[in-house]
Assembly symmetry: C2
DNA sequence: CCAAAAGTGTTACTTGTACACCCATGT
DNA sequence: ACATGGGTGTACAAGTAACACTTTTGG
């Protein structure tokens, strides 16, 4: 291990600030829209560009705590899933690196989050209000955030296929159609036939019928199911695909 | 974004050194052993403990470059696969954080590597020679490196199932038995029947028969195959499982 | 000729896919 | 009654797993 003594010559150990950038998705199941949370930057670098909500990691703070803090500064939300995504750290990825005379690096540890759209409350108090954007219409973002977002979207699609993250974000009781719409919104229309999706999920045995029904306008009322954590836990290590 | 001005009070932006720690695997196909590269630490913290080969990121250096540098300081190897694993950064994970009067944090970006065992040459020149250890007999490691190693092993097993990383590390021409032994060594004896493994791999169509044969003692000579990058590329986006 | 290693084939079974069809409700 | 959304069934293709069998070599 190289001696960590600080000096500013070539090939010396670099000093870093560590930022956490969050790729925060939500699914508006009513309108079948996949949304991403963005903030508008009030100052340089990249003033007036949109960016992913982020913050610099503070003393005594873990990376994950910083990720949760960023989240809670922008939105109030109870139900969410969060995990680390990737760490971006090439020299030059942040223009602030060249503003200072000494070599200061900026590293970004990105986090991926999925939050419940319905009970999400965007916080306005600071001058950096966060807003939901349609993922399809994402503008040019600050820094390398478009790249991070692409990476996050890929993770979202992969996770949906073999991980029960959707249930962290759906209401306690949901219809199989709600679930199907959720998957459709993220993965696109053609990911699977509804009846096959339905059969597959039910066969896995971790969705239990609550006995309740809900009627949405005309048509037969739909059965409400809930996700059974315990039944799901029994299936761990088995290769699961919900497709 | 919080103002990055440095101060040493509570809730101020932390200063980081960024380390890169490599989980480097190799498979000794001759003797069916899965190996992990470790170095013995010559000084505190954790003097005389084994640890993953690591280094601190230098000025002007990308994370991946630092990972490659660590690798090349310990072993000479041509054929390898490398990717980022995970970033560990809770306060207190490195005992050096408390040795200095100001709040200095140490963050570890871990990388996962798979290298060809046969043409690997361990470098002895510094006092920190790296050595191959049987993964099964991994000792107590410095820092949180046992955790990082577990995480890396999981990634290795997952990657083998759907990613052609084995071919980065097998010789140009290999028998299907070589490939099977490789998989067996990493995943355990019972991951699949040989004849089914063979049939599945051949059906995928990216292994081409070189026409050459190799005889190993008694028994029918085995056909030598090679991995066809182009044929494999055509299969991308298709859900592939080699199991 | 026989053991050893490589390679092929068979069979029973489980999943996947694409549909067609039946059911319960509001208007 | 009929349109609408919910839910079930089926038939064929495809994939999986276990295992028996044939082929080609060395001794």
């Amino acid at each position: 291990m190289i001696d960590p003594t600080i000096n500013f010559g070539k090939n010396s150990v670099a000093d870093f600030k560590v930022g956490v950038d969050n790729v925060i998705f939500s699914v508006d199941t009513q309108r079948n829209r996949l949304l991403i949370l963005l903030v508008k930057r009030p100052h340089d670098p990249f003033a007036n560009y949109y960016s992913l909500p982020g913050t610099l990691v503070c003393t005594g703070e873990s990376l994950e705590t910083a990720a949760y803090r960023t989240l809670s500064e922008k939105i109030e939300v109870e139900n969410l899933y969060l995990e680390q995504l990737y760490t971006f750290g090439e020299p030059g990825r942040d223009p602030r690196e060249n503003e200072t005379s000494y070599e200061q690096r900026y590293l970004s540890v990105s986090y991926f989050a999925l939050v419940r759209y319905e009970d999400t409350n965007l916080i306005t108090k600071d001058n950096q209000k966060a807003v939901w954007h349609l993922l399809k219409e994402t503008p040019q973002l600050a820094f390398d955030h478009n790249r991070i977002l692409r990476y996050g979207y890929q993770r979202l699609r992969n996770k949906l296929e073999y991980s029960p993250i959707a249930f962290k974000v759906l209401p306690e009781a949901f219809t199989l159609n709600d679930l199907y719409q959720f998957y459709t919104t993220v993965l696109g229309e053609n990911f699977s036939d509804y009846s096959n999706f339905r059969a597959r999920l039910l066969k896995l045995g971790f969705l239990t019928d609550t006995g309740l029904k809900v009627s949405r306008g005309a048509g037969r009322p739909a059965a409400l199911y809930r996700f059974d954590e315990d039944a799901f836990a029994l299936l761990k290590d088995k290769p699961l695909v919900f497709i």
